[in-house]
Amino acid sequence: MKKLTLTLLLILGGILLAAGICSLALLQYDRLPSVTIPTLLDRSATTALEEGYGKQFPLREPLLAVNRTLNKFYYFSVGEDNLLAIDYQGGAEFGGERLQDLPEPVAQEPEPEPVPEVELPQIDLPEEDDVAAFGTIIINGNRAMDIPTASNELIVRYGETVSRIAAAMPQTVRTFSLVTPNGGQFYSPVSFHTGEHDQKAMIDLCYGAMHGVTTVDAYLALAQHADEYIFFRTDHHWTQKGAYYAYCAFCDAAGFTAPSLDRYESGSYEGFVGSMYNYTSGYPQSKALLDNPDTLTYYLPQTETKALYYADTTLEGGIPVPVIDIALRDEVTNKYLCFLGGDTPICVIETGSSGGTCMVLKESFGNAFVPFLAQHYSRIVTVDVREFNGEGKPQLDLAQFAREQGIDDLLILDYPFMINSKAYINMLDRLIP
């Protein structure tokens, strides 16, 4: 017995030692974080080293595959329902992605500003906990959805902030607010879109807190077409068809006539597996998403467009970007980036239309929407509010910028995670000093 025990121990010890030696031998030390005395003392170095070691552990990929199998035990579901509900934190940091092959525009050095004589109010910088809005991701069959949880206080604050922005605009500027629901409102089981998850109630509350703003009823427009392909199943965004119905609602509010969708030239990308799959890929239920990818159909503007994007409000060093990229490389897995090249700080689109200038404050939901506006405006200026007035980011005084650009209309377009995100609302708030 002693011999057997010793043999077993030697096997176990050998495995541990072999794995340890292999892991150290294969470790790419240059990919580990550098260790300095301050980082050692504040414990960040050892934490980062442990993380770095874990990420380079031998046979990581096959072991991750085994982990997915193991997760069938921890995230059990039966039959075709293929149900999964996990915590999700989305919001200000989410969606800020652009095409990798777009060059980085250079922000201009700001002119030295005179020291203000009056004390400026303290900026409410977001804390770590503020960054995300809280919710749930569910998979139901072959569809994944991010379900927001209402934070009524924040929603009201969002409405008030939009009103404050509207009040700061030149008097001739019309301000529109479009808060869109996401797919969770239409395709999730009842309890995921009622009560604290009811996006209709969130939008009503938000619009109710606004004044001096024209609200756009995108909810009704989308709800009437919920049986169509208006939201992706594997991605958190709407399809461009969904954006089109919201655009129709905007046209109703703004006094425009929206062309029929079949008048647009269209094309498509097949096999799109988006953000919801990426977020849930470790869970067994996500296989249904991978096996049933989305098709992204785009609709080209009916007028000529020329777009440049910029790092800041100086609008210098603009880089051309297609309003809709019809030739995305196969390697670009996030096909939603075909719209405006993804999220850029400022994008200026010159069109062949004869209308005025529209400024759009938006996050990524706006990217599929904006191309439709080319029909009504000669110039569209998009601003990603997440790219300004933060630490290390360029400054933006929205009222001043709006005057400089001579805008006629301002559209603020967001989805429910944004109106529940303290950090995002703070970013909006800081646009008006």
Partner: protein, 471 residues
Amino acid sequence: MVFSSLIFLYVFFPLCLLAYFLVPGLKGKNGVLIAASLVFYAWGEPLYVFLLVAVAAANYGFGRLIGRLAVGSRERKAALVCAVVLDVAVLCAFKYTGLLVQTANDLLHLALPVPQIALPLGVSFYIFQSISYVADVYRDEVSPQKSFWRFLLYVSLFPQLIAGPIVRYRDIAAQLEKREISVEGIFYGAMRMCIGLGKKVLLANYAGKVADQLLASVGTVSGTWFGMVMFAFEIYFDFSGYSDMAIGMGHIFGFKYPENFDLPYTAGSITDFWRRWHISLGTFFRDYVYIPLGGNRRHQLLNLLIVWSLTGLWHGASWNFLLWGLYFFVLLYAEKKSRRVLGKIPAVIRRIFTLFLLLVGWTVFYYTDFGQMVNALRVMFGGAAAYSGEVGVVMLNALPLFIVCAVGCTPLPRLFGLMLGGIASREGETEPTWCAYAYRIGVFVFDAALLFASTVSLIGSTYNPFLYFRF
């Protein structure tokens, strides 16, 4: 560094083992363990490692001093008081200063700056170990340790340093100087370590994830109760898993640590629960606080109040832990006074009622924010909808885990192991039978599978909380 990390399992521990078994002689092995323990601690606490050594040095000095003074003399008592005051002062300074200043600010409307002192990992464990040492020397129950290095080894030994059990000096004093390292002991230790790792990584981590998901924003009665059940699983499998790993590693190095958990959720009363839960803490408070205060003989109510207040606060510098301790004080006192009545209630009902009381207790323990705690209790007792589809999906996803955790809390796994072990080693056999060989291989395969699954899980999941950072 924590035991349930890849770098510990595949770099630190194998290197430590290699050095331990290659270095000849007990002195050398002790040296390896001291060095490993200090590196282990400094990895997570690069500055506080000096505090650890300083505490060890001070208590070593007091131990020597107390040992030199006459038994029963005032000087001896004064030396003990000084040692205990110093230990408690260190604990209070690092653990409770922030809480006290903040509370003073809140109550007296002051604006005193609240010191941001990071709590040294494991400070409550090694301070209590040190107190047990000087107290035992004072009582003349053990001789003072002559070698500082051996004493430093006792205080800093990494298997029990950051999450217990609270090992008393008297329990391992002899093993510091002479211990038997056997193949059987190492095998038992290795298997126990794998079981503990599996409890922590494969059960506690996932149960904790479900609990956090349901308890972060309580919405339904069923969801909150289920979340609290999963938290009860988490804290049991986490804590007892760490204790298993500590005991297992101790065996590998030749140390025999006392057991710290004994199926606490099978307890028939709260009194019984505390005999089975974190046993080393309960016996510490009994022997070093309750009995010296007079125990059952005088001021029993006051003594219980003090012990349970301290037990609560020991778990963290937050008033909810005090409330948690007081909750058990009330329950234990009530049990003492109604022993006869309770004895007439069927055991099954008593067990279920005990579990109910424990879940309420864990609710107080879970929420450091009073508002959230009250809200959770309100929801648990009917202050919200009974059920939602969302909770249904979470419960469905967690169903297999719930079943395994529930079975794991019962004596069934232990009985199953004993039954197989009994079959494998039938009485009267002088030589091991093939059954005994098969059993041993079976145990090995099972535990190796736990190690493999834990490794896989550690690679695939970023959720690996360390619950004892507040202790």
